[in-house]
C-alpha cells in the first residue's frame, strides 16, 4: 500500500511549470527528461469565462509496479512505504522499465545514460521534508499527502 501521493489543487494552479524546474534542479537533470509535468486543457466556459483545467503527473508509484520485476539488474526498487525508485549504481540504462510502464514514465538521463524517474525526493522525505515540487510550488497548489487506511 502506498503511503504517499502528490495532490494538485487545480483551483490554485496557474500553470507556471515551476514544479517541473524545481524537480529538474534538485535532481541535477540536463535538458531532456522531465520527472513531473503540468498539463492544461481548455474546458467549457463557466458563466462566460473560458476556463482551463490543470493536471499534474509524475510517477504513480503503483501498488504492483510493472517496472520493478522487468528490471534485469534489480535497480528498480519499491520501498516499504510504496516509493518506487531507481538505484543509480545498479541501473544499466536498458530502459526495460519504460517499456513495461503503461505510461512510459521512466526516461533516459542523457548525461548519465541511466533511467530516471520521480522518487518523491525520498532523501528529502526521509529527512522529514517534502518533495521539491511541493516545497517550492509557486502558489502552494501542490500538496504531499500521507494516505491513511479507513
Amino acid at each position: 500500500m502506498n503511503k504517499y501521493m502528490i495532490y494538485l489543487n487545480s483551483k490554485r494552479c496557474i500553470g507556471c511549470h515551476g514544479c517541473e524546474v524545481h524537480c529538474k534542479a534538485v535532481k541535477g537533470l540536463p535538458v531532456g527528461p522531465f520527472l513531473c509535468e503540468i498539463d492544461h486543457k481548455a474546458v467549457p466556459s463557466v458563466k462566460g469565462v473560458p476556463k482551463t483545467e490543470f493536471t499534474f503527473r509524475s510517477c504513480y508509484h503503483c501498488d504492483n509496479p510493472l517496472c520493478v520485476p522487468i528490471c534485469p539488474t534489480d535497480a528498480m526498487i519499491k520501498r516499504a512505504d510504496g516509493i518506487v525508485y531507481i538505484d543509480q549504481e545498479k541501473c544499466i540504462g536498458c530502459m526495460a522499465c519504460a517499456g513495461a510502464c503503461p505510461w512510459t514514465i521512466p526516461e533516459m538521463n542523457p548525461d548519465t545514460k541511466k533511467a530516471v524517474k520521480c522518487d518523491y525526493c525520498m532523501d528529502r522525505v526521509d529527512a522529514g521534508l517534502k518533495p521539491a515540487c511541493v516545497t517550492k510550488c509557486t502558489t502552494h497548489a501542490l500538496k504531499f499527502v500521507t494516505l491513511q487506511e479507513v
Binding site: 500553470g15 511549470h17 515551476g18 517541473e20 524546474v21 469565462v49 476556463k51 509557486t138 502558489t139 502552494h140
Partner: protein, 704 residues
Amino acid sequence: MKKSIYSMCGMCTVRCPIRVESEDNKVTWIEGNQHLLGGALCAKGSAGPALVADKERPQQPLIRVGDRGAGRWKKVSWDTALDYIADKLKKIKEEHGPESVVLSSRGGPWQNMYKTFIHAFGSPNYTNHDCTCGRNTHHASLSLNGVGRKGFVYDIKNAKHLVLFGRNMFSSLRIAENLQTLDMLDNGGKLTYVDVRQTMTGLKADRFFQVRPGTDYALILAMIHEIIKRDAYDHDFIEQYVSGFDELSNFIEQYTPAWAATECGIKEKSIHAFIDEIIPAMPKVIFHPGWNLSRYKDSFYASRGLHILNVLMGNIEQKGGLIIPKGPGDCGVKGIRSLDCAKPDIKRADGVGWKYKHFDKGPGLAHLFFDAMEKEEPYPVKAWITMRHDPFSGMPDPQRQKASFDHCDLLVAIDTHYGEFSWYADVILPESTYLERESTICVQKGLKPRLAVRRKAVEPEADTKPAWWIFKELAKRLDIAEHFPYNTIEELWDWQLEPTGFSMKDFDEKGFISLTDDPIMYDPKNLEGQFATPSGKIEIISKKLTDAGLPSLKEYESPLKPEKGMFRLVYGRSAVHSHGHTTNNPLLNELMPENSLWINTKVANKLGIANGDLVDIAAENASYTGTMNAHVVDYIHPEAVYMVHGFGKHIPLQTRSYHAGVSDQKLMVGKLDDWDQAGGAINLCESFVHVRRSVRNLKRRVEL
C-alpha cells in the same frame, strides 16, 4: 563545505526573497524564503543555477574590435576595460561636457548607486526602462494622488473584489501578490479580468470582459459613470479628500454602459451586473491601476480612470484596499544610508523638468534622448552606459535606435548576459549573476516595512564582478571615488546600517530585518498631508496637467481599426521567461524555446491558417519580418495578434535563442516616437502588422 544563506532572487526584477544552499561552491537548493513565501518559488527562480553554469554569457570583459554589432570581440582584463572606458569618458567630458553622457538602468532598489555615479561624473542624465513599463501608471497616480505608482500597496488578500485591466499577474509572477490573490479567491473574493485575450489570470476570474483592443478607457469611463449615477461612491471620502468631483460628474455624463458596451464589444448587462456586484463589496474593492500600461494612446488616462475608481470606492488606507506604504520613520527607526550625489544643475537632455514639466524628473524618459543624439539639441549626447538595461529589447525599432546611437563615441553595456544592445556596444562589462554577487541594503516599504539584502551564495564562475565593485573602480579612475566611501561590500553595508542601530547579523535569522511586528495603518479619517498634489487634495483636475496644456479628463477617442489583412500587435509575457533575459537559459529555453502568434480562430480560418502552421508576420512597412508558429485560439479579439516579448534575438553566442521566435519590438517600426504626451510612456500597442500563412509550410518533400 555546506552553506545556507538568505538572499534575493535576480531572475526577474520582482526580487523575491530566497534561501540558497550550496556545497563546494555549487548551488544545491534554492527556495522562496519560508518566512515570507512559505518556500514558494517560480520556474525562473529554480533555473538560477543554470544561469550561473551557462557559458553562453560573457565570461570576461570584452572590447569591440570589428564594426558595431559585428560580434568581433577582444577578451580583455578588467583593468584594461575600465581604463579604456575611463579614458574615453574623460575625453568626451573634455570635448562635449559631462552632460553628454547618459546612464540608463533598469531601475529598482539599487539605482542610487548608478545615479550617484553619473551625477558625480557631472551629468544629470540618469534614466531607466520605465518609459516602456510603468511610467503612465506612475504619472497617472502622481497627477491625481500626488504620490507615484509605488505610493500604494494593494491589500489584495483582504479584498472582496479585485479588478484587473490586462494585469496578467499569474504570468508576470510576483509570488507574494499571487499568493494573496489566490488566498482572496479561496476566501470567496471575486476577480474581474479585462483583456483582449484570455490569459492565465483571466481563467481564474469570475467575470471576463474581452474588449476590443484599445478600448479599456471606454469601459473604465462607463464604470465611473455608473458608480456616480447610482450614487454609490464614498461621499465622505470625496468630501474630505477630493477636488474636482463636480467636473468629473459632468464629464462622465455621456459615457454610459450602453455606449461602452458597443465601443468595447461586450454586453451592457454584464457591466451592470459587475456594478451590482462591487457596490456591496465597497470599500474592499481594488481596481489595479496597471503595471506595464505603456500600451495605447490613452493608457495614461485609463490608469487615471482606474485610480479615480479607487477613490470612488473610498478604499485608500482601508483593509482590503489601497494602503499607503510605511517606511522606517513610521516604525520609529532611522532609515539606512544610501549612496547619493546631488544632481548637477544642468538641463536634462531628454527635456524632462524644463521642456516637459509635468513628468517626474527622477529618471526622465529614455526614449527622449534619441532626438538629442541626432540633432544635438539641447546639447550632444556622446556616450551611453547601460546598467542591466537593453534599449534594443525594451524600446521599439532597434534599427532607428542604432542610427541615433551611431552618433555616440562610446557605448558601454553592463549586464550578466549578452543583450541586443550589448552586442552593439563598444565594451561589455560582465556583471556577476545574482547568485554570485552582493547588492546594497534596501528598504522594502509596505504594511510591514523591512530591510532586505542580497548576499553572495557562491563565488563567481567566470571573471565577472558585482556592480558595487565596477562603479567604485570606474569612480576611482574618474577621480570621483569619494562618492563611493567603501572598499569592500562589508564596509558599505556597515556604513548603510550605522544610523539604524542594526547590524548584518540581524539579517541572519530570517533573511530580512522586520521594522515592525504588526502591520501599520494610518487613520483613514485623518489622511491629510498624504497626498502631495499642489492643493494637498486628490486632484481630479490636475494643476500640473492644466499648466502643461493637457486635459485632466480626456474625451474618449475610438482606437483605429486595422486595415484588411492587418492586425494590432499586442505583447505580453509568460510565466517561464523574464522577457529577453531568460530566453537563452537552458532550463527555461527547454520549456519555451520560441514564441508563437496568437490569432483568433475565425480570422485564422479565413486566412487558411491552422493551429501550428507557420505564419509570416511583417512590420507595417515590411522592413522587418519573421516566421513563427500560429497559435489559433477562440479567446483573442479578432483585431489583435499576440506574442510573448523577448524573442527574435540575433546574438550568435546565445545558441539556444539565436533567431528563435519573433521580436515584437522590431515589428514596431517607426514607433519610437509614438509616445504619450501626458503620461510619458511609449505606446507599445499602437503598431499594426501584416500576417499571412507562410509559404514555408511544406506541401511535399522533393529532396531525398
